[in-house]
């Protein structure tokens, strides 16, 4: 009785709700995926069988071949590398565009900041899918951009923009830009302008003050924004599917093909597990940095 009384305290109950949610929505599915990744490809039973009992002998078959296959097959390695490359380019572009954007928002008059913030978030009012589709209309051979360039005489025949690395990167940068701007804004708006005055007072030009004071002080915002863009970018499926082309290998699309075209669930699961591992590394770095930051306060 006493045990139950001590165990079911209010604090534990409050923690239990999110813990259960995380367990059922993330941990259990992940364990299922992990289990499948060790199974043998079998059309009839995609889950395969790991544990068999025959003739009084219990056999646990853990198959690593899926992982070996991924590592040996150039296609997968290239796709992983290419996913990381596109995610990195997207993150860099979001940072280059997003930083000045967030900076000017944070330095705008307090009265118009909510309006600017609203403008950043407004795209979320429209379906993500529709917005990506809209880029097709802009970038297609007979799309808005090509027609405009033809009309002003900048080009004589339509440029191939769709289904290229260019269209993929534009789409990804467009879609993830708000995730860069918002944490940067939250960071920059809190920054004390007196630090900039102190820098100017000590002889720093406005550019030096920005580079030596503003940027280092917004480091945690830069890291948070970059993580928020980079992590989902690596596994992105919809944008490469709609805007990408034959030369834009992305692991999300590969995953889809393995699951639903080839029906090879164990291999697809192994691909998934590797993606998760790839993302965990930058995450771990980020968490370590965060912990150090908190230590410093």
């Amino acid at each position: 009785m006493n045990f139950f009384k001590n165990f079911f305290t209010g604090r534990r109950f409050v923690i239990a709700v999110p813990s259960l949610w995380l367990a059922f929505a993330f941990l259990v599915p992940f364990l299922i995926v992990l289990r499948i990744s060790f199974a043998e490809a079998d059309m009839a039973d995609p889950f395969g069988t790991l544990l068999t009992v025959a003739d009084g002998v219990m056999t646990l078959k853990v198959k690593f071949s899926n992982y070996l296959f991924i590592l040996q097959d150039d296609l997968y390695v290239l796709t992983y590398l290419s996913s990381l490359k596109f995610a990195a380019i997207t993150t860099a572009l979001c940072l280059i565009i997003g930083y000045p954007f967030a900076y000017f928002m944070a330095r705008a008059k307090p009265a118009i900041r909510p309006v600017l913030l609203m403008l950043v978030m407004m795209p979320f009012w429209t379906s993500f899918l529709l917005r990506i589709y809209a880029w097709k209309g802009i970038l297609a051979n007979n799309g808005i951009l090509n027609n405009f360039l033809l009309a002003i005489g900048a080009i004589t025949e339509p440029l191939q923009l769709m289904n290229t690395q260019f269209s993929l990167i534009i789409g990804m940068t467009y879609a993830y830009l708000p995730f860069m701007i918002l944490p940067l804004y939250a960071n920059l708006v809190k920054m004390d302008v007196r630090f900039l005055e102190a820098a100017a007072d000590l002889g720093a030009t406005p550019f030096q003050a920005f580079w030596r004071v503003t940027v280092p002080l917004s480091k945690s915002g830069i890291i948070a924004g970059s993580m928020l863009v980079f992590i989902p970018s690596v596994g992105e499926y919809v944008i490469p599917e709609l805007l990408g082309g034959p030369d834009t290998l992305m692991i999300g699309r590969q995953l889809w093909d393995e699951f639903f075209t080839n029906n090879d669930w164990p291999l697809a699961s192994a691909v998934t597990v590797v993606v998760i591992m790839l993302i965990l590394v930058p995450m771990a770095i980020f968490n370590k940095y965060k912990a150090e930051q908190e230590d410093n306060r």
Partner: protein, 375 residues
């Protein structure tokens, strides 16, 4: 150290005006500051003292007027090119840089050679007695240490003019008193001309060689601390600095060696001439510590400079008293209804003639110890 009196003042502020959206924050301020001075701008919040300081630093552009530093008008010079450094209110130390790098920040912007930067930073750290703390981050230091880092940072570039914005405002009372002396001795050791802003009159009085009392964007009086205290030039200054009793009256007799002023509380005999006319409305200002108080009527020997007529003496009842240890402050309500403040030093441990509440007392003062205020 006595300030070097040059023919030309080191810092000359001439007819300086600053408007913010139609509100005049600094109104036609002119002041000359000598080399080596510690000059305090004293006033309550919103009096324009901080705006004036920020114009010296270059963070605000004057609406009109000139700021001439060592013969050169610096109004158009951006802050990062002025030979002026500031110690900010609550310091504004860069949180991402170590103490060492904070102090080196300005030197690096000047592109000094590495070994010279190192030598100067070490010297600064030694000056503020923080040599062991170079590697720490600002948040790992106490308030007093942060204050010293801020001072070292603002002195590292050897500025011609040092600005202090509420230099001790963020420290607690005990630490503040100790730091005042320390700060002054460091500033004097370096020999830098200094303009400080403060709302704390004790800070201004104890640190500054001269004080400018500001109100509503104007400088009301400039003078050494004792001048400001003993000869205030208007009611505001008399009331703002320390505590004062004001008797409103008018001049009834105006002689070169004395004046007689009548106020509802009584007749005042003042042993110095004033610049005024007969019948002019004036205020007689008497500091609480200049007033003597006792239960019996004062004898003629006790009452110097009051002439023979029983002037400069009032009678009343003690309505409140506050014991501060070193002194006691009495509120004496006069028969006319006015309450005056009288303070008395507790020179002896046991005062047989200690005054109590509701006691009838005589209060009087020396005719030489009062100031007549005409504005």
């Amino acid at each position: 150290m006595t300030p070097e009196r040059a023919a030309e003042p080191f810092l000359l502020i001439r007819n300086l005006v600053k408007d913010f959206d139609g509100v005049r924050a600094v109104n036609d301020v002119s002041v000359a500051i000598n080399k080596g001075e510690i000059f305090a701008l004293l006033g309550s919040s919103g009096c324009g003292k901080s705006t004036l300081l920020r114009m010296l630093a270059g963070f605000e552009t004057p609406t009109a007027g000139e700021i001439i530093l060592a013969g050169q008008d610096i109004v158009g010079v951006p802050p990062y090119q002025r030979p002026i450094n500031m110690m900010f209110q609550s310091y504004a130390l860069f949180p991402h840089l170590s103490v060492w790098d904070n102090i080196a920040f300005g030197l690096r912007r000047d592109g000094l050679p590495k070994d010279e930067i190192a030598a100067r930073v070490e010297k600064m750290l030694a000056l503020v007695q923080l040599s062991e703390y170079g590697k720490r981050k600002p948040h790992q230091l106490s308030g007093g240490q942060q204050q010293r880092v801020a001072l070292a940072r603002s002195l590292a570039k050897r500025p011609q003019l040092l600005l202090l914005d509420e230099p001790l405002g963020a420290l607690d009372k005990k630490l503040r008193e100790r730091t005042q002396m320390e700060l002054v001795s460091i500033i004097e050791e370096v020999g830098v001309t200094c303009v400080m802003v403060t709302h704390d009159q004790d800070e201004a009085m104890s640190m500054a060689t001269r004080i400018a009392v500001m109100s509503a964007g104007r400088i009301l009086q400039v003078g050494a601390p004792d001048e400001i205290y003993e000869t205030p030039n208007c009611r505001f200054v008399a009331d703002f600095i320390g505590s004062v009793n004001l008797f409103n009256g008018s001049v009834t007799e105006d002689q070169p060696d004395h004046v007689i002023i009548d106020s509802p509380e009584g007749r005042h005999y003042i042993t110095h001439g004033i610049t005024g006319t007969l019948g002019m409305p004036v205020a007689v200002a008497v500091r609480p510590e200049k007033i003597a108080v006792q239960a019996e009527a004062p004898t003629l020997e006790q009452r110097a400079n009051a002439s023979e007529h029983g002037y400069n003496c009032v009678q009343g009842t003690i309505t409140a008293l506050a014991y501060f240890g070193n002194e006691t402050l009495y509120h004496v309500q006069l028969d006319t209804g006015t309450t005056i403040k009288v303070s008395r030093t507790n020179a002896a441990r046991h005062d047989a003639a200690a005054l109590k509440r509701d006691q009838r007392v005589y209060a009087w003062w020396d005719g030489a110890d009062v100031v007549v205020l005409t504005s």
